[in-house]
Symmetry: D2
Subunit: 185 residues, 4 copies
């Protein structure tokens, strides 16, 4: 296992849904974690990302994978409020734990989304058993490829301790939704 | 053409989107009108109903059919506000004219939805060239069947005047969303 | 109804399947007829054309439409024999009547396919109640559009007699299958 | 890695397609092998199995996985001949190596299919780097699950030698195709 993967920043969440208590990555060490960053009004999240996140949960929860939805609102903040998210979760029958990313005090990008330097929604972050980010993908990731990554990470023993590198900063301009993805960076 | 179809009640809309001026059924006499009643958080509306409404518009607008979206909110009113609908229309790239059904002063069913006695969302109402309701369907209508109805109605001359029957009142209890539809009656 | 549509040539079929006796267009006057020309090894026919033909049969057979499959083999003749077609019909659970277009004595294009000047497979030919060709389409036709044509043709009274025009000859070079269609002209 | 997986029997193939020379499992030691058993007239193979096999090839061939199609004809032998298979491979643009399983001298089940005790088509056999059968599945396997298995097997070092267990004989009656699968056992 390579030792130069960045450590996953903590989740900074203002509201949790579908969980009786807040989730923390630290408490999930030993498990593989899949973060699905979405917005409830992002078409590609609704048609592909969230069904995939739910399917990953259904297939792999008992085998060591925890899926967490992260509602990373960076546009239309007035429409995608926690109360709206609650109705969305209800209507779409989502059962995975979902956290509302904490809104920024300045700017439009919420805290966790900024910490992970996500480009937009849907984004997928896959974190290994030791809390390192092994993949960050913007847009749709095919099930075959995601499955292979999970199969590989589940095969790793969580023993090895790894050092903390700096993640190279990405510098793009924010965009908007097109062809199923919504870009913020 | 049978003469016992009910006259379509007027649309009672609080906000219009994608149109420079309010639409009225009276002004559309001579055209076939397809009303697509939806809620922005209704999964079956998002996955099937609205894409079909948009496709009907794209195929038939030049041939005598007007498609109107009707946002008939009967649940989660706090989440499906006009400002949220505006963001939804933007993100889903909807181009058909859409009216927000006027909220009830008492009860949860908005005005136009009540006047048409719709069971829930998605619902489709097809109105002939003379302003008569020729079909009301709750749930998904197959493209072949909807196309056939439109082809048939477009073949009718708008000449004949018809008398106004009473629509039989339906008496069901309101339910909620399941398997792609959201029921209100 | 326009009077300049070509009369549909008779079907020249060597083997019939799913019917106790040969079908003739003459005997179907008064009904709308949909011919679906296909090859059993044409991907677009298998994935879209034949399911659509079966759906048209299921929706409209009781309402005046007869669907006929026409196996128009113009390539891989050694693979798409009647015995192979019989197995194909069995495995794909096809229930519409299907005729094997009579092989040419010279050249590769079978008789009926040549008479109708079809470009390849899948092709759709829609014949009105009076036996006139109202549409010939190569490739996938959307359900909405096909439904509308059928709805319109079913609205026509079969009374009017029409005169027989010449169909303009089309002159293209034969090609092969790509993007779901197989071209012969 | 468990040591009680059965050794994969050799492939007994009468014709190879899409490969300049016959493939042997022995020569593929060190790689993960996916066998996709299909029949060209099996609907579930055409709609799901073969596209998945091709996708696995496209995603994983460079990363240690070899996909092999195996045409295991156990019904309609007269329709699914090697010449018909050749046309099928051409029309469906298949690029994976495909072997025609050697027909039985007695009975309908071809040699390799019998050696692997496959129930029907589509079937998937996944063989690890040491030549052991790690999964045999009849019917559709989800991409997420197949991906995870491949990711896990690719993580194994091919070093360990394993002993050869007996595979428990299955005793079912042969059936036929339904709901996308064709059963032989």
């Amino acid at each position: 296992m390579p030792t130069d993967y960045p450590s996953a920043p903590p989740l900074d969440v203002s509201h949790w849904f579908n969980t009786s208590e807040p989730l923390s990555l630290a408490a999930l060490h030993g498990r593989v974690v899949v973060l699905h960053a979405f917005q409830m009004l992002c078409p590609g999240c609704v048609s592909h990302g969230l069904p995939q996140a739910q399917a990953v949960h259904d297939h792999f929860h008992l085998h060591g994978v925890t899926v967490i939805g992260l509602h990373t609102v960076f546009e239309h903040h007035e429409a995608m409020t926690p109360v709206a998210l609650k109705a969305f979760i209800h209507e779409y029958r989502l059962r995975i734990p979902i956290g509302a990313d904490r809104p920024a005090t300045t700017g439009v990008i919420p805290h966790t989304m900024r910490a992970y330097q996500l480009e937009g929604t849907p984004s997928l972050v896959v974190i290994d058993r030791t809390g390192r980010i092994r993949e960050t993908a913007f847009g749709h990731v095919k099930d075959l490829r995601l499955g292979a990554l999970l199969g590989s990470l589940l095969s790793e023993t969580p023993a090895t301790l790894v050092t903390e590198p700096e993640a190279a900063a990405r510098q793009h301009e924010p965009g908007s939704c097109h062809e199923g993805t919504c870009r913020s960076l």
